[in-house]
Symmetry: C2
Subunit: 300 residues, 2 copies
């Protein structure tokens, strides 16, 4: 029995989050089944990089945006899994020795430490491809447009472009607008895709996309500002990854540009922008509000 | 003026091939334009890896399959570019030090030699994403199905799975069926996608897909057998890549399993299978026949 369907009051946020996290875990588990005749190393590495960890921010945003347009979770599963698989592949490649050369991720050895560089490279490649297959397991009003949106979010004008900006700025001075551009592409583009694709799973009214894009932009930047703050304030134990590594690798951050207090204030300002963008939706935006608060007020 | 449109007899194959190669070059050039605000290194590396080289076998197959279903080249451009970008990205990642560690490709330094490993990794990632964006610039009867087909061809049950099989068999004994499975995935899956997607750009009659899948399978394997033969018989100068590297890296090949003469005979047998699969199409399969002959009888 779906408790939510018969409830007269919405689930508390923690219970909603947990139910969707469990749901996406099952969806990803099915989408990443072993393939007969294919080396288990590859599919194991894909599963290792994707399952059993992370806050699932992007899937949660997709489900929440779906609720806003009256799409039930079953109508959003494909989109939610697709954005998470793109995210997971980007972490695998980002951690490789030729990129960030990181050994710890979500409290576990990174994929290439566990499976070797070659298999990690292929697992990331295969995860990106699989994301586009999984996207199209969801019935979408405009499947071609959805494919383009995810591709643009992942490609040179999105996440990959942002990573190139990041890479080429290590150890160099960066203005605040340049830092925002980098994050808007590196993490913001996929967050935006998660929200817009989630909304596309339901019946989006005129103006919904523009308002959600504004929300996504503020939320995405806030997410990154908080990340930078936590990189300074957090510990490896609570973060599940190496703390202080931005400073150690001399990457420009909101904290290095603004200072800690101003970075925190900036996050709160972005939070207000995000809230304002959701105002037209009233109670239908409940989960998106809750996720924004959760992201911006988290301590890990 | 489109000379072909007014011609009463079809273009000779060499002229057709040249016109389609020029066409796909222009399509790829447009699809890989610089992105404002994105480091030129990234888009330059994507262009370097994709433009100005290669036989364009996959786009040619897509255009030829499109002709079979009455799709003009303009209706096939997106599909042709998408499969070529997937192919180009796979070469970039395949050449990386953690994979084949190759320094020469199409007579030029490999992408990571020219741009560094990190940018080459990102350029490959971005090319894969861009392929899915470009795919959906073509009007397809079933855009969701086309996206799934390309994704499956590139993913763990296709190219990436084949590369994992290849990687994990270096220096190990391999049976002929295992070698065929590896090639069916590593190169065959994308060749199949090029042909089936090209055919989907037009009006495919019942049974067309099954016959073309059979053609693709034989053609794809023949392509690989000939590659193995040329790796033994060719020189770096004529191949534009390092010759004899399969033997040097102790990879199983058709030549190492069958011997040179039997490998050549196997290629001819596959050629006959491919021809037989096209029989129902008569003259509409002219270009596919010509491509198969060209691939199997090439000396570089």
């Amino acid at each position: 029995m779906d408790l939510e369907a018969v409830a007269t009051v919405p689930l508390p946020f923690a219970a909603w989050t947990q139910s969707r996290q469990q749901r996406i875990e099952a969806v990803l588990d099915r989408a990443l089944a072993a393939v007969p005749g294919i080396p288990a190393e590859l599919t194991d590495a894909m599963r290792y990089a994707t399952l059993g960890g992370g806050k699932r921010v992007r899937p949660l945003l997709a489900y929440a945006a779906g609720e806003l347009t009256q799409a039930g979770p079953d109508a959003v599963d494909g989109v939610a899994a697709a954005v998470e698989m793109i995210h997971a592949y980007s972490l695998v490649h980002d951690d490789l020795p030729c990129m960030d050369d990181d050994v710890l991720r979500r409290g576990k050895p990174t994929c290439h430490v566990a499976y070797g560089e070659a298999i990690a490279l292929l697992a990331g490649d295969a995860l990106q491809a699989q994301a586009f297959a999984v996207l199209q397991t969801t019935r979408l009003a405009d499947p071609a447009g959805a494919c383009r949106l995810l591709a643009q979010a992942a490609g040179p004008a999105g996440m990959a472009g942002g990573q190139a900006l990041d890479l080429l700025h290590v150890g160099k001075a960066m203005t605040l607008p340049a830092l925002e551009t980098m994050h808007r592409l590196k993490t913001g583009a996929l967050i935006r895709a998660a929200i817009l694709l989630g909304a596309q799973c339901g019946r989006a009214a005129h103006g919904t996309e523009a308002a959600l894009a504004t929300f996504a932009r503020s939320m995405g930047l806030a997410f990154q500002v908080v990340d930078d703050v936590l990189d300074v304030e957090g510990s490896a134990a609570s973060l599940g990854k190496t703390a202080g590594k931005d400073a150690a690798s001399r990457k420009p951050t909101y904290v290095s540009l603004l200072g800690l207090a101003a970075a925190k204030a900036h996050a709160q300002a972005l939070r207000e922008e995000a809230r304002a963008a959701l105002a037209p939706f009233g109670a239908r935006a409940r989960r998106l509000h809750e996720i924004a608060d959760w992201i911006i007020c988290r301590d890990r």
